[in-house]
Amino acid sequence: MNAVPRNASTAQSVRFINVGKSYGNVRAVSGINITIAPGQFVTLLGPSGCGKSTTLNMIAGLEMPTEGQILIGDRDVTTVKPADRDIAMVFQSYALYPHLTLYENIAFPMRARRRRSPEPEVDNKVRTAARMLGLDGMLSRYPREISGGQRQRVALGRAMVRTPTVYLLDEPLSNLDQQLRVQMRSELKDLHQRLGATMLYVTHDQSEAMTLSDLIVVMSAGRIEQVGTPRDLYDRPANLFVARFLGEPGMNILNGESKSGSLVGKGFSLPLPATVGVPAEQLSIGIRPENIEHDPSENAPIKGIVRTVEFLGSRSLVRIDVGDALVSAFLPATVQLSAGGAVGLRPSDPAKVRFFDTQTGLSV
């Protein structure tokens, strides 16, 4: 694919230095420090209202930070207008221009006065992008005449025809149906690898974040909770929020007290490994649903009452009341359990059990 534009040479780093944004007395985001290397695919992940779109809009220049600095490459763009930042953005709503054909939509950025390209070059790039995205043959149509998936591709095409320093993608898959979303997700990953571009992606969908990203920034209530690779975040969550937020279902959390080398709580008693210091008496234990196994013995370290059993084929998702907590576990479908019955459980790999300070929520 010689015609594919490669952005690796133009890909730039992005740095947030102590960035914050307030609306009057309301702090939308604060203390944002992130460094994104050129060519990285970074996802801002968090629940609705956590400030991830505000953060993205600040890179785009659509919102001005009230504190801190944003650098693209070595250039401070904190107060630079969107048009002068040399970035491309794909919006959640795609933001296609309804009065322009698909060709004109994709060509639009190349016809801006401040970076106008010669028409033969525009034509070449538009057709190349359309071919890459499977849009050739429909360039004379209008956005209202094509499907949601095709619109999403046009929006990507509009971003691709330029060689921007950074691509910003604001939940671009959220309006697609499940099947199309999975397809577009892998196309997006493929596109990132081919373009070698710096991409910053916003989503509340953790499976998108996990599958696409080199680095995930988990946000909550306007702050960064943790930055790391998908595996880091999943295996070693820095705090209770990340532990609960990542995973479907999230990590099981049981609260207990440390007593003579064990963590004891309602319905469980688990030995504390020597590697875990005991900075606090109140500790929480975190176990992923897939790291729990059935323990039929009398001395099972976790005991509870089965609430529901969801048969998933090779395994079942079992919800168990353990003391005040509801524990989820993926157990082999061969384990016969029924709602209301008592069940014993144990961690399948003690090394994968995480411990948190209950008061601060931080990993210990």
């Binding site: 785009a60 969107p82 009065h99």
Partner: protein, 274 residues
Amino acid sequence: MKTGTRNGLLLLGCLLAALVALGPIVWAFSTSLKPTNRIFQVPPELIPSVSTLDHYARLISEGVHRAFLNSGLYAFLAVAVALVLGTVAGYSLARYPIPGKQLVLVLFVGAMAVPGFAVLLPTQLLFVNMGLYNTYVALPLLYAGHILPFAVWVTRSHFNTIPRELEQAAQIDGYSRFEAVWKVVLPGAKPALLAAATFGFLHSWNDYVTATTMVDTPGLRTLPVALIFFQGFHGRDWGALMAGVIIATIPPVVMFLLFRKYLIGGFADGSVKG
């Protein structure tokens, strides 16, 4: 009721409505082509057996074409001024967090509710004092003032329906805010702009009272004012009057035929969006 019967009744209703709407225009056209001595003949003829263009020639000889051009010029200038100002104001009210903008909107809507007659004489006095009375500026300025609140109201409502992301996308694509509005927002607001333009044009074109109050010189008169002079003290020149009516009807009809697709949408937008 059977569908066939219902459709038949609907068709009959539509035909009656069309007859009521078109009848006077057809009769006026017929009258404008009849020689003066055959206008009141009994039985009347819808299609004249003898036709003439004398009445149209008389309009020209009396300088009515000048009034026709004046009407067009005033309406055009008024619409241009009102649309430019109305678009800027409508966009600002739709997009910027202006303090007290609700009050501004209420004032605009309130201005539409004030009957023109109530302020006509004070306005005339004002224009006399300002040296604008009986000038080419007087009527376009006043008409623009009449149209402006409607233009602001309709354009603001329409801008509210255009997603902000479109402008933001254009800005990221390398366009300034003004360019983004020009290239993306205004084409999207075409129905609202054409609705406001048509309303404004018809308002200005049809006006008689303001025109007769604000200008006096024959060279500055508008078409409705010029035509009234064919309605003499002792009798009316029906042929010339009807010819004038037909000429006066042409621009609004052409305008409506050209823009009717947008007009219906534009007025509907204005009527249901706050």
